[in-house]
């Protein structure tokens, strides 16, 4: 990825990058304060439901401003770790999200078979046939252990079990 956005000097880009994390926290703090004000604050004598959350929102905002100041003064100190040029992480997140969406709809057995096939193939660069066979064995074994032996209730989804 290019380190400099078009039309922006390297130092300005570094500052924007360094300020993005505390900026995000500042937004979060504002949201916490806003939400805290939606319920009664009460008084010091009788603090209400919003009292402590408001205090937390203000504290987070104050810390975020401090971090923002530090990051802008020395961008290197507030910088983030390198983002490796590997897409495996993104694909893995997508697989997890898809599995969460499918879990109750398609059921444990089907979702986990798909999830295991996809992730073992993705991370191990093994051929599809091996991945599918391993996924089927793995998901059935997990189903037997969790559902039949440990008696954990798992969603059946579109399958009868």
């Amino acid at each position: 990825m290019s380190s400099v956005v078009a039309g922006m000097s390297p130092s300005a880009f570094e500052r924007v990058k360094a300020g993005s994390v505390p900026g995000g926290f500042l937004l979060l703090a504002t949201w916490i304060c806003f939400e805290a004000l939606q319920v009664p604050l009460g008084s010091f004598r009788m603090p209400g439901a919003g009292f402590f959350p408001l205090a937390l929102g203000l504290a987070l905002g104050m810390f975020a401003v401090m971090l923002l100041g530090m990051s802008l003064l020395s961008p290197a100190s507030g910088s983030t770790d390198a983002w490796p040029d590997r897409r495996d992480g993104v694909y893995l997140v997508a697989s997890v999200v898809a599995a969460v969406w499918l879990f109750e709809r398609a059921g444990f057995l089907l979702t986990m078979a798909l999830f295991l096939a996809l992730t073992t193939r993705l991370l191990g660069k093994i051929n599809w046939l091996t991945a599918v066979v391993l996924a089927l064995v793995g998901s059935v074994a997990a189903y037997v252990v969790f559902s039949r032996v440990l008696l954990i209730a798992l969603p059946s989804g579109i399958l009868p079990f």
């Binding site: 939606q38 009788m46 439901a49 959350p53 929102g57 997890v96 599995a99 969460v100 093994i126």
Partner: protein, 512 residues
């Protein structure tokens, strides 16, 4: 119940076949968790927590504690044989342990690490047994103001003693406390941060957040690292240390036990810090400090003893005060709360089987680890050869089942996935997410103590300063923050001075 009487009762609880089995299972799983890089004790406890739901409370805590101190044992094995710490507290063991292994002395290094861990673990249990009842008696005097101030002090120390930036740790604490605010406020009945979603009424599931932060996120971070470990195979015939090794290790083990135990009581990254303190202490006391880092057995014995002793220390605030000082003990506390057992000053009276059963199981578990660890070292090392593409999907599958099984809720799975991505992003931005977990557990207690304290004093904040115990704890918290501020300012000043010195052009003498 006196300490000896209590311990005997504890052995009668722990030595039943069921509890012995769970103890053995716990230490075995803990060792595996410790051996596998990327999954620390916290991740291990979190992922395996749902498997304890069907157990008796005492069996559950015995198994989870076994995972906790078992992981400390397991971490040293990979440090010595592969130069990869299984968990953060074993980093220091790499310095001299791996060098010993390269010199063909992996056996003595492993044996001393195991023996040191056993001695330290046993001594720390002794300390736990003697200190916890006394502290619990003292804690009975605590009202809401003292409880609030104690939690403030604990969280400030957690940030101060952490491994990274204090400011970032404080932000993580506030974030964790905020997450704990989601759901129904039990004092007023109002719902907060739920946006009308009924499933969030009981709050955000602790387990879903913890599994996301330490299961899913750890895997995402580890997917980026493709490490092919070079394993040094120890010869079992050369496993035993010489008399000289024992002579050189005994002092560091005893000192490491003391250091680990007392640092373990404090909140924060006690396991990690205690190993560095012990290593520095041994280096300073040694007649040959220059040889540290090139295979001195003292550099293995002291830190290994320290990180195991810290587990016993960390149990004290959690069991005696009901206020966990570390994320791992916070997770154990959640396990007990799920079983309807509330840790705290009255735990020993209301549930003596849990307290004394746990203490006795730690004696037994440490012995099991000593017996298991050395003969099975080859087996544990082979775990490092399990390919990531089988290991990671398997762990994720367990996370799915674990999170879903608690409330049979798809929402919890979404929370886990979101927490996983958030945990990954936080690590990328160099935030340690561990304080979030501890703060989530303390959040509701802290809010209740603050509000009750203010109600008691009719709105006067002075109540927190007028009561001696509370005032002392708040003063200590301010002192910690003050120390940090002064140190940071000095550091910044020194850095500015160094920069200025670099920018001044060096004038050459005219004669040159």
């Amino acid at each position: 119940m006196g300490a000896i009487e209590g311990l005997l009762y504890g052995f009668s609880v722990c030595l039943t076949p069921t509890n012995l089995l769970y103890c053995a299972l716990g230490v075995l799983l803990g060792t595996i968790v410790g051996v596998l890089p990327g999954i620390g004790p916290l991740g291990g406890i979190t992922i395996l927590l749902p498997t304890t739901f069907g157990m008796e409370p005492v069996s559950a805590i015995i198994m989870l504690a076994g995972i906790y101190y078992g992981a400390m044992y397991g971490g040293s094995t990979t440090s010595i044989l592969v130069n990869i710490p299984g968990e953060a507290a074993s980093v220091v063991t790499c310095f001299d342990g791996y060098q010993m292994a390269r010199q063909g002395r992996a056996g003595p290094a492993l044996s001393i690490a195991a023996a040191g861990s056993y001695i330290a673990g046993t001594l720390s249990v002794l300390g736990l047994m003697l200190l916890a009842p006394a502290l619990a008696g003292f804690a009975l005097k605590f009202g809401p103001p003292e409880q609030f101030s104690l939690m403030v002090l604990g969280l400030v120390i957690l940030a101060y003693m952490g491994t990274g930036s204090v400011l970032k740790a404080l932000m993580m604490i506030v974030l964790g406390l905020s997450v704990a605010m989601v759901g129904i406020d039990h004092l007023s009945g109002f719902t907060r941060f739920t946006h009308g979603r009924v499933e969030l009424g009981d709050g955000i599931s602790f387990l879903a957040v913890a599994m996301g932060l330490f299961g899913v996120a750890e895997i995402l971070v580890n997917v980026e690292r493709t490490v092919v470990p070079e394993v040094i195979k120890p010869k079992l015939s050369k496993l035993l240390p010489t008399r000289e090794d024992w002579k050189r290790s005994l002092g560091p083990i005893i000192r490491g036990s003391g250091v680990g135990f007392f640092i373990g009581i404090l909140p924060g990254a006690a396991h990690i810090i205690s190993t560095f303190v012990s290593y520095a202490m041994e280096k300073r006391l040694s007649k040959h400090p220059e040889e540290f880092g090139s295979g001195r057995i003292e550099g293995v014995a002291g830190p290994e003893a320290a990180n195991n002793a810290a587990t016993g220390g960390a149990m004290i605030p959690f069991l005696a005060l009901g206020i966990p000082s570390a994320p791992a003990t916070a997770t154990m506390m959640v396990a007990l709360l799920i079983h309807g057992v509330k840790p705290g000053p009255v735990l020993m009276e209301q549930h003596p089987e849990v307290f004394w059963g746990l203490v006795a199981s730690m004696y037994v578990g440490n012995l099991m680890l000593l017996i298991l660890n050395l003969p099975l070292v080859g087996l544990f090392i082979n775990l490092l050869r399990v390919p990531q593409h089988f290991l990671f999907p398997g762990i994720l599958l367990v996370c799915f089942v674990g999170v879903y099984s608690v409330n049979l809720s798809g929402t919890d799975l979404w929370i886990m996935a979101i927490s996983g991505v958030v945990g990954y992003l936080l690590r990328k931005a160099r935030f340690d997410p561990a304080p979030i977990v501890l703060a989530m557990v303390l959040g509701p207690m802290m809010e209740q103590a603050l509000r009750q304290g203010l109600m008691m004093s009719r709105g006067e904040f002075g109540i927190f300063l007028s009561r001696p115990i509370s005032a002392t704890m708040l003063a200590a918290a301010v002192l910690f923050l003050g120390f940090h501020l002064v140190a940071s300012l000095r550091h910044a000043q020194a850095r500015r001075g160094a920069k200025r010195a670099e920018s001044i052009p060096v004038e050459r003498p005219a004669s040159l």
